[in-house]
């Protein structure tokens, strides 16, 4: 048998020689088919070709890619088994080297399955002959060959062609796991083909024709196998759901939990936020295959059009009626994406609308194209489209969408909130804002791409599609800049570290707000812990004016980013800690103002600090004010006076005074300490005096001018002074001045 098969091969070869052009074209096609299969997986139509491939002994490299066009391969197991081993590299443009692994695997499949070498004689060279004859022969031979596959394989290996790779039965390789395209296997219409009646099978295939390419192959796959969420709308009749009896054990085991679900009534669309990890690459099953366009065409066209011998792209001369004759009872072809495909909800809606419209009306009379006249519309099969969509979806998925896709998330939240409001107001039914949910495809297992073999002199780099060229283990180690001795650098370094911590804190805060209430305490605790750490890192401590330049906290504050950091941190801090900061800032205000002349970034602190001020008690306020009224070391100048020239300073001062006034004029018990009131009045007088002395031009406009300052002054000062101050501060005059008691 082996010999005869060899002879058959030679024969074919001779036949092939008669039509070299055809052969070339077919070869190209084969290669492209192979590529298609590898990328998209097999489907029932190409399964047959797979079988042929598997069966074909790898006599010569290129020829291996020849695919017989047998439609009625009964050896489903082989094909399916093969799929299992197929590596799918996504790179288009397969080079020759790419084909090697393929060959390897095909051989492997051949090894496992029932290889039928003779089948390869079903060659394109024989295209012109009756298909039925070929396939019948093939089938017969298959039966015979079953027991002898071992022999055949051996023989194959002995053929000695350097292009022939030894089949290696390996576990799913790294490469195969890496592929982004690991679909599960699909059943096929094997059930229907299992019959002996090949002619019927062919006719069936013909009937179905290219609409196949439009119809989803989703029915062939159970939803769990494919990587997508349930797709919208269209319910597929399940008559296609087959239980391929010939599926190998492994697949059945995987599939059995799913099978019951997939059987039965059409699957309605089940929108879910997050699909379960549907891709389980480790159990890598075979592939879902598209219906490659070309082989289809060949199959269908050639029997009826012996003259239209084309293997390349379809030419318009190919008779469309054959191609596009819709199967009986299916008037409108809807090339809706498979229910696996996750489209944007709005997109989906439009599609559904169209469907409904189409169903409602008959084919619109004003269509410019009739399906019959558009031979190009099926160029991309459903599989291919789904695959592209899937690739794009995969690119969208992320571990941390709030980080990676901030704008969309923010937009979506806003939309949600708006709709919730509308719902409350308008009382409309709850409208779920459309959200694009990417299919959750489990990430490949992380592994070290740099392998260290004991005793070797270097690193063995394993290159994959995720890290194609990671040849060295370059890890960035953060430099220790503490030793640098440069104070400013150190301060900057510290600021960066603390900022990162702060960002994490805010992140947890944000996440917390999305989580249910029960988990809040835990998060709050964690957050306060982290905040405490940052506060410690700030190293706030009391220091004199001489040490100001060395004080680490003040150094941080001298940097704009440090100010921003402090400002952002303040709302999170505990009361005492925030106060400490305020006191320190006020105490060293002259220093900070001096350092800020160029930058002018102190105002960034104003907001949080003024809020802080607004919560202080009277005594605390007095304390802070004391800082401003204490004369600077070595001079009689008051910090107070210096604040007038600085926007932040004067704003802070006003804020403090305003708060004091508020406290006084309110009815709340102040609980002052002894001496507080005196200090307060002293301070106010001092401020008034300084204000009146400073020329107006030197007075800087504050960030915010509290309205109760004049009333404050009113308590203590005479009318004249008030007028003057009023003019200087450009306050709005008090109402009913005449009625003022002062």
């Amino acid at each position: 048998m082996a010999e005869s098969s060899e002879l058959a091969i030679l024969e074919d070869y001779l036949l092939a020689e008669d039509a070299p052009l055809l052969e070339e074209m077919a070869e190209e096609d084969e290669e492209i088919d192979l590529y298609n299969e590898m990328t998209f997986g097999l489907d029932r139509d190409s399964m047959e070709e797979e079988v042929a491939k598997a069966l074909a002994p790898p006599v010569k490299g290129p020829e291996l890619s020849l695919v017989g066009k047998n439609e009625a391969a009964a050896v489903a197991e082989v094909a399916v088994e093969e799929e299992d081993e197929y590596k799918a590299t996504e790179q288009p443009g397969l080079g020759a080297e790419e084909e090697q692994p393929m060959l390897e695997e095909m051989e492997e499949a051949g090894e496992e399955g029932e290889a039928e070498p003779g089948a390869r004689h079903d060659d394109f060279a024989d295209m012109e002959e009756e298909i039925g004859v070929d396939e019948q022969e093939e089938e017969e031979e298959e039966g015979e060959e079953e027991e002898q596959h071992d022999e055949d394989n051996e023989e194959q290996n002995d053929l000695g062609d350097p292009a022939v790779m030894r089949a290696v039965h390996s576990k799913p390789t790294l490469e195969s796991l890496d592929s982004a395209v690991l679909d599960s296997r699909i059943g096929s219409t094997w059930g229907e083909f299992e019959g002996d009646d090949l002619d019927k099978a062919i006719l069936q295939a013909l009937d179905r024709g290219p609409p196949m390419s439009h119809m989803n192959l989703d029915f062939l796959v159970s939803p769990a196998q494919r990587g997508y969420l349930g797709s919208p709308g269209l319910k597929r009749p399940d008559f296609r759901m087959m239980s391929p009896k010939s599926f190998p054990q492994r697949f059945m085991r995987q599939q059995s939990p799913m099978m019951p679900r997939s059987m039965g009534s059409p699957r309605p669309y089940m929108p879910s936020r997050r699909a379960s990890p549907l891709f389980t690459p480790n159990q890598s099953s075979g592939y879902v295959s598209p219906t490659p366009f070309r082989p289809m065409s060949r199959n269908i066209s050639t029997p009826t059009q012996p003259l239209a011998m084309h293997f390349g792209p379809m030419s318009p001369s190919l008779e469309p009626p054959l191609f596009f004759s819709p199967p009986a009872g299916c008037q409108l072809k809807f090339s809706v994406p498979s229910h696996m495909t996750q489209l944007h909800p709005q997109h989906q809606r439009i599609l559904n609308q169209r469907q409904q419209r189409g169903q409602a009306q008959s084919i619109s009379p004003k269509k410019a194209w009739s399906p019959k006249a558009d031979p190009y519309s099926g160029l991309m099969t459903r599989k291919e489209k789904d695959w592209v969509i899937k690739v794009q979806m995969m690119q969208l998925q992320s571990e941390n969408p709030h980080l990676d896709d901030y704008y969309y998330q923010a937009y979506y939240h806003r939309l949600e909130r708006k709709q919730a409001e509308e719902e409350l107001l308008g009382g409309r039914n709850k409208q779920e804002p459309p959200k694009l949910v990417t299919p959750y495809i489990q990430k490949m297992e992380i592994y070290d791409s740099v392998v260290r073999i004991a005793g070797s002199l270097g690193q063995v780099a394993v290159s994959t599609c995720y890290s194609p060229r990671r040849a060295i283990d370059a890890v960035h180690h953060a430099l220790q800049e503490e030793a640098a001795g440069n104070q400013r650098l150190r301060a900057l370094h510290r600021i960066e570290k603390m900022f990162l911590q702060l960002l994490e804190v805010e992140e947890t805060q944000r996440k917390m707000s999305l989580l249910p209430e029960e988990q809040h305490p835990r998060f709050r605790e964690k957050k306060s812990h982290e905040v405490g750490r940052i506060y410690q890192a700030l190293k706030i401590r009391a220091c004199d004016s001489e040490e100001e330049a060395e004080d680490e906290f003040l150094q941080v504050l001298c940097v704009r980013k440090g100010k921003k950091l402090t400002a952002r941190l303040l709302p999170h801090l505990a009361r005492e800690q925030a106060e400490e900061i305020l006191v320190t800032v006020t105490r060293h205000l002259p220093f900070l103002m001096r350092k800020d002349v160029l930058d002018e970034s102190l105002p960034v602190l104003y907001g949080p600090l003024s809020e802080m001020v607004g919560r202080m008690t009277f005594s605390e306020l007095i304390e802070v004010l004391q800082e401003l009224t204490r004369p600077l070391a070595g001079s009689t100048e008051l910090p107070l006076t210096m604040t007038f020239k600085n926007q932040f300073g004067i704003s802070l001062l006003y804020a403090l005074l305003s708060h004091g006034e508020r406290l006084l004029s309110s009815d709340m018990p102040l609980e002052p300490h002894s001496g507080d009131f005196e200090k307060w009045t002293d301070t106010v007088f001092l401020v008034a005096r300084e204000l009146s002395q400073v020329p107006k031009t030197a007075l800087v406009e504050p960030l915010f001018l509290p309205s109760n300052l004049l009333s404050l002054f009113c308590r203590y000062l005479d009318k004249q002074t008030i007028h003057r101050l009023e003019a200087k501060m450009e306050c709005s005059p008090l109402p009913s001045e005449a009625a003022m008691p002062c």
Binding site: E90, P92, H214, L332, K333, F334, S335, V336, P337, L351, R354, Q355, G358, I363, S364, K367, A368, W369, P371, D374, Y376, S377, L379, M380, E384, K385, V388, V391, Q392
Partner: protein
């Protein structure tokens, strides 16, 4: 997807607008457009230049959208002949170039020189 092939509109990075039947796409957004027309818009007018089959490299695609065939007809834009639209475009380009020249001149006078932007991504 309906029984009719969908017309797609593609905007390219160099500012061209192509309208055709999208026959194929891949993960890089390389496109195969069939029976493509290049539509030139100037103001409220537009003109179509039939181009045939386009194969566009994905990196040059800005966006791609499907044209609603029913809405396609009710557009406020007015279609004109190719010659006319090309003329309009030339006029528009000229005006732009002149204003650009003035701007560069003004900047030069003030001692600034902004390098000319890359021809791509600018239209």
């Amino acid at each position: 997807f309906t029984s009719l092939p969908e017309k797609h509109l593609v905007l390219l990075r160099d500012g061209r607008t192509l309208i055709g039947y999208l026959r194929s796409i891949d993960q890089f957004a390389n496109l195969v457009l069939h029976q493509t027309v290049e539509r030139i818009h100037v103001g409220k007018k537009y003109g179509d230049i039939p181009r045939g089959i386009f194969v566009v490299r994905g990196e040059n695609v800005v966006l791609l959208g499907e044209i609603d065939l029913e809405k396609e007809s009710d557009t406020p834009l007015q279609q004109v002949s190719i010659e006319e639209i090309l003329e309009e475009q030339r006029v528009e380009q000229q005006a732009k170039q002149e204003s650009e020249k003035l701007k560069v001149q003004a900047l030069k006078e003030r001692g600034l020189s902004i390098p000319r932007a890359d021809t791509l991504d600018e239209y």
